[in-house]
């Protein structure tokens, strides 16, 4: 006999991510929203985002700007009376949006995260100068000139290294092999 299973929903997808299963416990008390330093910048507040995700509004959630304003300060997470890991949910929404090609285009935060990840994966370390230069090139080169005073102040105190710290060739290859394998496995869920 054929067993019919219901199609996988957005909430199933979220629950399969480590830490995501808590989303089912939300009582919509709004503590996360009230604690969030950036809730007023978000299209949908953290508690709205949870309600929408539970209603299956995948497209609306993943294309919103909300999670890209998450500061990863974890205030919502420590205050949630239901033990939901909202900061982890925000990261999960970001990754799902990236995979679906839905990342919000009205902020440079996704570009900044991608630039960071690009360097961290390729070199195994984060050269701050290179990362910033790359980010400004991809986002808005005109804004780079505004950064000159900050960069100059860091540079003259020896805090802006042009050269990146490099791993040994063996270490670089090892990291490459691990990350290639991780990519072939796909996501965490």
């Amino acid at each position: 006999m054929e067993i019919k299973t219901r199609p996988k929903t957005f909430i199933d997808e979220i629950c399969a991510i480590p830490g995501g299963e808590g989303i089912r416990l939300c009582i919509q008390c709004g503590t996360c929203t009230a604690s969030c330093p950036n809730a007023d910048k978000m299209e949908y507040t953290p508690s709205q985002l949870i309600a929408m995700a539970r209603a299956g509004m995948r497209q609306e959630v993943l294309s919103s700007n909300s999670m890209w304003y998450c500061l990863s300060c974890y205030l919502c997470t420590v205050r949630c009376p239901r033990g939901i890991k909202q900061t982890g949910l925000m990261h999960a929404f970001e990754c799902l949006a990236e995979r679906a090609g839905l990342s919000y285009a009205g902020s440079f935060t996704p570009t900044m995260y991608r630039s960071f990840n690009h360097f961290a994966c390729a070199l195994g370390s984060l050269p701050e100068f290179g990362f910033m230069a790359w980010y400004y090139m991809l986002s808005n080169p005109l804004r780079a000139w505004r950064m000159i005073p900050v960069a100059w102040n860091l540079f003259r105190r020896g805090r802006l290294s042009i050269r990146a710290r490099r791993l040994t060739p063996e270490g670089t290859n090892q990291l490459r092999a691990i990350l290639d394998k991780a990519e072939s496995i796909g996501g965490v869920s």
Partner: protein
């Protein structure tokens, strides 16, 4: 002597927070704490990586965890971001068998395996818990009496909380400052966010958060801030003039790493502590002690 595996992180090793690394090493040496740097470590992946490629980010962290686990010692990092990332990977690794299997499958491609036994700790935890306030106080040569310090914890050292200090009203840094002979001012925003990496992509928003922190510290009479995180230090120090310009304020608050403050009280040299690397000059405030 106490022994640890040491993970400086990108900012403290080669980046903008070199003085944190120097001062951490100098202070640990004075306290008989041996920091053996993890060989060939890679970037922990930090929060940005886990926002675009979750499994890849966890695997970056897991390579370091696997390498450090072989050493058989607790791993200590001075960076709050590295601290939160490693502990998050550890929590998932030990709580979700499927996640564990995926991470180890990826690690195997590099000839590594992680068993999930490594304990990752913040340097502030090690110095206050393992070494202790009394041992630190007994090493003080120049008590920092009269110096009014705002202890800034930021977020990720105490949240989401990996068993070290209170997530919203932490006390360890306050007590540490007291053991150096100085006074920590009341500081309601001591564990609020500095804007983190959004200072790069959403500067105006982050400057507003930083301003609130300065306001809280300075209205309570602080002469300087002390931080436990390279990113917090950079945001509060390198962007202080931007805050002043944007909000027409006049904050002149030097932002020191907590290890620099300990080093000053221990009478260590200015060079060893990298005191000249601060952008907001600390000379005036520290004139009596350095």
């Amino acid at each position: 002597m106490k022994h640890y595996t040491y993970f400086p992180g990108c900012s403290a090793s080669e980046g903008g927070a070199k003085a944190y690394n120097w001062s951490a090493r100098a202070v640990c040496k004075a306290l008989d704490v041996d920091l053996a740097e993890l060989e060939d470590w890679n970037c922990c992946g930090s929060t940005p990586s886990s926002s675009v490629d979750e499994l890849g980010a966890h695997c970056m962290a897991a390579r370091d965890l696997a390498l450090a686990e072989k050493k058989g010692l607790d791993m200590v990092t001075p960076c709050s971001a590295c601290y939160v990332i490693f502990n998050r990977t550890n929590t998932y690794f030990n709580g979700y068998p499927q996640f564990r299997a995926k991470v180890n499958e990826a690690l195997a491609a590099g000839g590594l395996e992680y068993r999930g036994t490594l304990k990752v700790r913040h340097l502030l935890d090690v110095l206050t818990t393992d070494v202790g306030y009394d041992a630190i106080a007994s090493r003080v040569k120049k008590p920092l009496s009269e110096l009014k310090v705002a202890p800034y914890y930021g977020c990720q050292i105490v949240r989401p909380g990996f068993g070290f200090d209170h997530p919203e009203s932490p006390q360890s840094l306050d007590k540490l400052i007291a053991s150096l002979g100085s006074e920590s001012v009341p500081f309601p925003l001591k564990a609020r966010c500095c804007g983190g990496s959004l200072i790069i992509s959403e500067e105006d928003l982050a400057l507003g958060l930083i301003r609130k922190i300065f306001d809280s510290a300075s209205s309570n009479g602080a002469e300087c801030l002390v931080t436990v995180c390279p990113l917090c230090q950079t945001n509060l120090d390198a962007y202080q003039s931007r805050v002043n310009k944007k909000f027409k304020t006049d904050y002149q608050l030097p932002v020191l790493f907590f290890t620099q403050l300990i080093g000053i009280a221990f009478g260590l040299s200015e060079e060893d502590l990298g005191l000249k690397t601060g952008i907001v000059p600390a000379e005036r405030v520290l004139a009596k002690y350095v």
